[in-house]
Subunit: 351 residues, 2 copies
Amino acid sequence: MRHQSSHATEWRPALSRFCLRLLSEWKRLELPLTNARVVVAVSGGADSTALLLAIDELIKAERLILHLTVAHLNHGLRGRASHEDARWVASLSKESGHEVAVGRVNAKKLAARNLDNLEQTARRARYEFLAKTASEARAAVVVTGHTMDDQAETFLLNLLRGSGADGLGGMEPVRTLDPNARTMLARPLVEWARRHDTREYCRLRGVAFRIDQTNADERFARVRVRRQLLPLMQTFNSRAVEGLSRAARLLREESAALEVAATSLLKKACDVDGEPLALRADILAAAQPAVRWRALRRWISGGRGDLRRIELVHILAVERLLYGQRGGRVVELPGGARVTIRRGVLRFQVK
Amino acid sequence: MRHQSSHATEWRPALSRFCLRLLSEWKRLELPLTNARVVVAVSGGADSTALLLAIDELIKAERLILHLTVAHLNHGLRGRASHEDARWVASLSKESGHEVAVGRVNAKKLAARNLDNLEQTARRARYEFLAKTASEARAAVVVTGHTMDDQAETFLLNLLRGSGADGLGGMEPVRTLDPNARTMLARPLVEWARRHDTREYCRLRGVAFRIDQTNADERFARVRVRRQLLPLMQTFNSRAVEGLSRAARLLREESAALEVAATSLLKKACDVDGEPLALRADILAAAQPAVRWRALRRWISGGRGDLRRIELVHILAVERLLYGQRGGRVVELPGGARVTIRRGVLRFQVK
C-alpha cells in the first residue's frame, strides 16, 4: 500500500469546497500537478471563469505548482461586447499573474467561405486556436470549463439528432486535442460541477463573470435545450442533469468496450487470401449483432473513406446478406459503393 | 438461392399498406404463419384495435392461417367506461369470428394490498392474465399493440428515471412471457408503426376505437411524456420518435453483446480454489471498464440476491479496490454487505 504524507501537520489555507472537488478530479484524471504549463480556455462566462479562479486558488495554496496561459478567442460575433469580453479576460488573468493569449477570427466570414454552419465553424476555430496556443506555450494540456449541464445538453442534442450509441457518449473528460496526441484536452468540471456551482464560486470570489447574450438566443438548438427541454425534464426528475450525464458516461464506456470487440472481430473475419477488403461471412454471422454492426460500419468506412449517409438500415441490409435471406446478393450503398457476397465472402466495391 | 413461389399468378384481394408492413414484420420476427393459435391483447384503444383488425384482414386474405383469442382485461379503474370497453372489444371480436377472453381485476385493491403503485400493479395483472389466457388457449404467442411511440415514451421514462445502459433498451419486439419460456410475447408494431398509423388504419376499416380518458390524465408521467416532452422534442427534430426508437434498439443490442462479454469475464475471473464467490482481481483489472462494471454488478447481484440501491458509485468504489488505490481495502455496500480485497482476490461478504 502507498504511504501517504501527512497533510494534517502542515498549515495550509482552507480551500473552498469547489477547489477541493476540482483538485480531486484533477488527480483522478491524472493531470499534471507540478512543473507544467497548462492552457486554460476562458470565454469570460461563469464556467470558464470559475475554472480559472479555482486553478489560481490551488496554485496560490501551493496544491498545484503550475504555470498558466489563459487563452481567449474573440469570434467577432458580438461586436463591441466581444471586444469587452476579451479585454475583461485579459485583465483578470494579468491581475492574477498569468500569461494571456487572445486570438481573433471572423467566424461569420469563415463559415461563409467554408459553406459551414456558424456554430460548427466557431467551435472548430476555437479548438484550432487552443491547439496553436498550447503548442506555442509548450503546454501539454488545455483545460476547458465544460460542466455537467453542458454534458446533459450535448447528450440531448445528439439524441435529438438521432445519433446512435456512438454519439450518445458525449464529451470525454480527457481526450487528445491534436492528431499527433501531443496535447491533451481535459474537462475537469464535466463529471461533477453544475452550472450553478460555477456561478456560486465566482460570487464567492467576488468576480462578476461576463454574460454572453447569445446564450439567450433561442434560434440556437443548444439554447432551447437549456432553456426549454432540460427544465421540462427536471419537472419529471429534479436530478435529470446528473442522470443524463451518468448515462453519457456509461454509454461512452460501453461504446469503447464494443469498439475493442469490433476491432478484434474485423481482424478475425479479415482472413481471405490476398484480399484485404474481403470478410468471412461465417465469422461475422457468429458474432453478437451490436459487435457485428460496429465492425461492418468500420469496414464500410475503411472502404469508402467515410460513413456519410450510412444508416442502420444499410448495415442491416448488409447483415441480411450474411444469412442468405431474400433480397439479392448485392447491397447498394448511398453514394455508389456496393457490398456483395459470394461463397461466404463479403466484398466491398467502389464504383 | 431460395426459389420463391410466384404470387402474381393467383388472385388475392389487395392488402392495405398497414397489413403488408405487419405481415413483413410478422415474418421477420418468425411468428407462426399457419396452424397456430395466437392471443391478441386488445384494450380497445387505436393501437391494439388496429393490430386485431390487421391480423383479421391477413387471416381473411389467407396470408396468415391462424386462430385468434382476443384477450381483454378490465382493470376496474374507470367504472362504467371500463365495462363498456370490455363489451365493445368482445362484440368486435365475435363479429369477426374470433374467440374472446375477458378478465377482471380490481387494480386499486390489488395495489393497496401489495403496497405497490397503481400503474405497476395494473401492468403486472395484465401480463398475468395474458399468460393465463395463452396457457388455457394453448397459444404459443401473445401479441400486443405497442407502437414506436410507446417505445419512445418508454425510452424517455427510463432516461428520466436515470436508468443506466440496461434500462435504455426499451421493449423487445419478442421476448418470453413466462419463466418457463413456453409462451412468447411479441410486439409486431413496435419497430415501425406510429400511433397515427394505427388510428388511420382503424378509420380506413371504419372502426371507431375506444378512447381511454386516463390517457389524458397528466398525473401520470407517461401521459406527460406523451403530451409535453415528446411534442417539444419534435420541435427540434420532426423524426424524434423514430430516432428514440432506433436508439433504444441499438442500445438493446449493445447491452446484449456486453452481457455476453460480462458472462465470459466472470467465468474467467471466478478461478479461486474452492471459493465460488471469489474473483481474481488481475483478470477483472485487465478487462474493458464497461464489461467489468457489468460483471461486478452481476457478481454483487448473485451474492446479495438483488441490486437494490446499488449504483454506479458503488461499482466504481469496488473497481478502485482492484487498482490498489487509496480508500481502504474494504467497500461497504448499502444494506450491509461488503466487498474486500486481499492478495489479489475480491471477496463478497454478507453480514
